[in-house]
């Protein structure tokens, strides 16, 4: 399984000695197997990409290699020497450096200060350190000025500072976790030039991504991880993005809902030209338009961070600066407050139930009231109707099988699945006409998952419009009547779940498509020559 199916034939990879050798790495968390029998070889002077879906276990693996977490089983060898890494400091000592997806930089300090922090013994904090930074910056073409405030740097430059930090400490193995997720195409090209520079210096670069065309353009070897284990290591020369996507997603897709379609032609939710700029002016959402009909479930597929959360929050009226039309059942809600939208008939199952869905230190019945403060049975004439709210909470507990001793239990004390069932029950209690469900089964147990799916199907039968956002393709295909794929804040493809192939979904989600699925959508480019564009 670990042996590459096609022996690596890329010129620099063949003979170079191994920088990293992982064998049989396993890591389990309560209820989850994050890594199982992971085997990877990374050679010096190569860029080794590790690809996989969200939740495939890439991040856990890298945390193990960087000493943040200890593996339950397996061995790590660095330059032929078996090591055990108890902390990042250990990893740094062994020449492993990591560039986190969320930068670990202090904005109000200069580049110099950020780089030398914690490593003042190497070259001090003055002129010597500055010279060393300039040297590294020049050697690898990073273009970093040591005296600039990090605050004044763009995202790409910050990333180069992170790389510089790692190099300053003498790393020979550099891990980059989803480095391109935050970059615009031009910055991606610059980053790749930098990575090639590192490679030429004999460093080993481990590059984690799920953007396949990027991986193919820069990597010397690609290892695919699915469900916590290494599926295959391939030579990028011999594979296409579509083949990689298939490896990533798996060859079988779940069968779509066998229930009869309940879709009518009555439009309940009409979204037109919805856009949302970020603080830097780059669009988080870019001209999104779609309709959801009565009795229809619209699934939104996409790799995380491509605008799903922003889409949901814009529809809920929680984002300032969102423009475009949100029309619910013929009523224009574009300028209505969040409360107005909820009262207008939107039920909302938020992505992060701890932050957005619950008052963790309040009893269940108060959580029943949350978001329904203005409506019966929770409230009457400006007063909270405690008796009715408690009674209705009990009804939800019974109907939705929330396992709890009673309505006075604190929400925090319930398991994730039961918390989520309570939220679903609450949101359905408001008799909504639209249900927005963001990752409704994330982090819940199998039993609760099945129950929540059943409730969403029931909602569809009862004639609701449902907007379902999920990273779980099984869930999307099993529940949706139609799937839209979101990429970089735009809808890039529309699919029928009963006919869609894994390649089609995988390609659209990763921007690797070399066939346009619907004539109306165009494929964004990433600026790399390998990505095909049909225009």
């Amino acid at each position: 399984m670990s042996t590459p199916a096609q022996a690596p034939a890329a010129p620099p990879a063949g003979e170079a000695p191994l920088a990293v050798r992982l064998r049989g790495i396993g890591k389990r968390f309560p209820g989850v197997i994050a890594n199982d029998d992971v085997n990877i070889d990374v050679r010096r002077g190569t860029i080794h990409a590790i690809v996989g879906e969200n939740g495939a276990g890439k991040s856990t693996l890298m945390k193990i290699l960087y000493g943040v977490q200890a593996p339950d089983s397996g061995t790590i060898e660095l330059s032929g020497e078996q090591v055990s890494l108890a902390s990042p400091a250990d990893a740094i000592k062994h020449g492993v450096g990591m560039v986190f997806q969320h930068f670990m930089l202090a904005d109000n300090l200069t580049v110099l200060e950020n780089v030398v922090l914690g490593a003042e013994k190497l070259h001090g904090i003055g002129g010597d350190a500055k010279a060393e930074i300039a040297r590294i910056s020049d050697a690898y073409g990073l273009g970093i000025e040591p005296d600039h405030l990090v605050e004044s740097l763009g995202v790409g430059a910050r990333q180069r500072v992170e790389i510089l930090k790692v190099l300053y400490r003498g790393a020979r193995v550099i891990i980059l976790d989803e480095p391109t997720a935050v970059l615009v195409p031009q910055e991606v090209d610059e980053l790749f030039d930098n990575l090639r520079g590192l490679k030429a210096e004999g460093l080993a670069v481990i590059f984690i991504s799920h953007k396949l065309d990027e991986v193919l353009s820069v990597a010397d070897e690609v290892t695919v991880i699915r469900r916590g284990t290494t599926v295959r290591t391939v030579d990028p020369v011999g594979v296409t993005a579509r083949q990689l996507a298939e490896l990533m997603v798996g060859s079988e897709l779940p069968s779509p809902s066998t229930e009869a379609s309940t879709v009518t032609d009555k439009v309940l939710l009409h979204i037109a030209h919805l856009s949302l700029p970020s603080d830097e002016g780059r669009p988080l959402l870019d001209d999104i338009s779609f309709d959801i009909h009565k009795g229809e479930v619209l699934g939104i597929a996409g790799v995380e961070g491509n605008g799903q959360a922003e889409l949901v929050e814009s529809i809920m009226g929680m984002r300032k600066g969102a423009t475009g039309d949100v029309v619910l059942n013929g009523r224009d809600l574009s300028t209505t407050s969040t409360r107005g939208r909820r009262e207008g008939g939107i039920g909302y199952i938020p992505e992060d139930r701890h932050r957005h869905g619950l008052l963790l230190d309040a009893p269940l019945w108060e959580n029943r009231v949350l978001g329904h403060q203005t409506r019966e049975p929770s409230a009457r004439r400006g007063l909270i109707d405690k008796g009715a709210a408690r009674a209705d909470t009990q009804r939800i507990i019974d109907e939705y099988d929330v396992r709890t001793p009673g309505v006075d239990t604190l929400a925090r004390a319930l398991s994730g699945g039961n918390q989520q069932k309570l939220i679903v029950g609450r949101e359905m209690a408001g008799a909504p006409i639209l249900l927005v469900a963001a990752h409704p089964t994330r982090g819940v147990d199998v039993g609760a998952q099945g129950a929540i799916w059943a409730h969403i199907k029931k909602a569809r039968r009862e004639g609701l419009a449902v907007l379902l956002i999920s990273a779980d393709l099984d869930e999307l295909i099993g529940l949706s009547d139609r799937i839209e794929v979101i990429l970089r804040g735009r809808l890039v493809g529309s699919f029928d779940p009963s006919h869609v192939t894994p390649q089609q979904l995988g390609s659209a989600m990763t921007g690797a498509s070399d066939e346009t699925v619907t004539p109306t959508t165009d494929t964004p480019t990433t600026g790399t020559p390998t990505s095909g564009e049909t225009a």
């Binding site: 309560p30 209820g31 809920m316 929680m318 407050s337 969040t338 409360r339 107005g340 939208r341 909820r342 009262e343 909302y348 938020p350 992060d352 701890h354 932050r355 957005h356 869905g357 619950l358 008052l359 963790l360 230190d361 309040a362 009893p363 108060e366 009231v369 949350l370 978001g371 403060q373 203005t374 409230a379 400006g382 007063l383 909270i384 405690k386 396992r403 709890t404 001793p405 009673g406 006075d408 239990t409 604190l410 925090r412 004390a413 319930l414 398991s415 994730g416 699945g417 039961n418 918390q419 982090g443 819940v444 147990d445 199998v446 039993g447 609760a448």
Partner: protein
């Protein structure tokens, strides 16, 4: 035990733990200083005489209002450190209005009270608007407003002051007899009585409880305090709630000086009691922002103040030792509530787990995130 009973027991355990710790630390200070520990506590902890009892209740009335004012902010995770300034601006206003006596009798009183609340609210509202629109920490702005209030009141007092014959003190005009709030008899001795304002304070305590626990507005306020993100997702306008909460807090703060004004001093002078706002912070923390708890806290603080008075005469120890106790209570109460809270969550999770016959494969939600109030300055 049902969860509610458990919660009640735990709720009582925390302040007790805090008190024990505070008493222990105070005793330690006494020992180090070489003062008689036993003598101090036996003096303080004796049963108060009737006159002292009345003083305790009267002072507690004042502290209670201060605690309520702070608690409104705390319930929304706002730190109204400016009760001190708010009540002085408000009490001064009330004294001027009542002293002018534009309206007859109790109408005059009512007008003065309303004016005091409005001015207190406005003074706190400045901090609310700055926080909601400019992101200025209410901690810093209310501290600044406290000092500005001091200067402003001193200036205005000189403008409107009347000097009493034979006294150096200046003050506002005396409130006419008919507009004073009659005292409540407390014993056979007519000189020992309670502030009539006690009734109004109790009413506001009830109102506080009712609004916070029974109304939609109160629910919104508490929800915002517990989780801003969940509040936003549930449709609460957090900006409006921020200003609203500080306005209410300021309005209650406006009442703090009034028991003294209408029941004892009848005028606002340069020696009008100050510093009541900071005690309110301690009392609100001790009382867990609950009207009953705040009442107990206010009584305790007033008790300590009153009972420590004779320390100097009886055993030659400065009564200021209780200020150390009071300050230490603020720290120990916060720490012990946090300790007890974590214990309580663990207990409840175990309770839930054992109450559920069926095995739930996924573990309970992690109690890792902290609930320590995050006030950034």
């Amino acid at each position: 035990m049902s969860p509610r009973v458990t919660r009640l027991v735990l709720g009582l355990a925390a302040p007790l733990l805090a008190l024990v710790a505070a008493f222990a630390i105070t005793s330690l200070v006494l020992i180090i200083a070489g003062d008689p520990v036993g003598g101090v506590w036996s003096t303080i902890l004796q049963v108060p005489a009737e006159r002292n009892m009345a003083n305790i209740i009267n002072n507690a009335t004042v502290l209670y209002l201060s605690g309520l004012a702070v608690a409104v902010g705390f319930r929304m995770n706002l730190f109204n450190i400016g009760v001190d300034g708010q009540y002085r601006v408000a009490a001064f206003t009330a004294a001027v209005v009542a002293g002018e006596a534009w309206l007859p009798g109790y109408l005059n009183t009512a007008l003065a009270i309303v004016c005091a609340m409005a001015v207190g609210a406005a003074w706190a509202g400045i901090a609310g608007v700055l926080r909601a629109t400019r992101g200025v920490s209410e901690v810093i702005s209310t501290i600044m407003l406290n000092f500005i209030a001091t200067g402003l009141v001193a200036y205005l007092l000189r403008k409107v002051a009347v000097r009493e014959a034979g006294s150096n003190e200046i003050g506002t005009k005396q409130i006419p007899e008919g507009s004073r709030i009659p005292s409540i008899p407390f014993s056979d001795n007519p000189a020992i009585s309670l502030y009539g304002f006690l009734v109004i304070a109790a009413f506001f305590g009830f109102l506080f409880w009712f609004v916070l626990n029974k109304t939609r507005f109160g629910f919104d306020l508490r929800a915002t305090g517990q989780s801003t993100t969940a509040a936003v997702a549930s449709g609460i306008n957090v900006t409006r709630m921020t200003i609203g909460a500080l306005l209410i807090s300021g309005a209650i703060a406006g009442l703090v000086g009034l028991p003294i004004l209408f029941g004892d001093a009848y005028a606002y002078g340069s020696t009008f009691q100050s510093g009541l706002g900071f005690a309110g912070i301690a009392i609100a923390l001790l009382g867990r922002n609950h009207p009953i708890g705040i009442a107990v806290g206010a009584l305790l603080f007033a008790f300590l103040d009153e009972q420590s008075n004779p320390l100097q005469i009886i055993i030659g120890v400065s009564p200021d030792i209780v200020a150390i106790t009071q300050g230490v209570i603020v720290l120990t109460v916060v720490i012990s509530y946090e300790v007890v809270r974590r214990y309580g969550v663990r207990l409840e999770q175990r309770h839930v787990a054992s109450a559920l016959e069926k095995h739930d494969p996924a573990g309970p939600a992690s109690p890792t995130d902290s609930t320590t109030k995050g006030v950034s300055a």
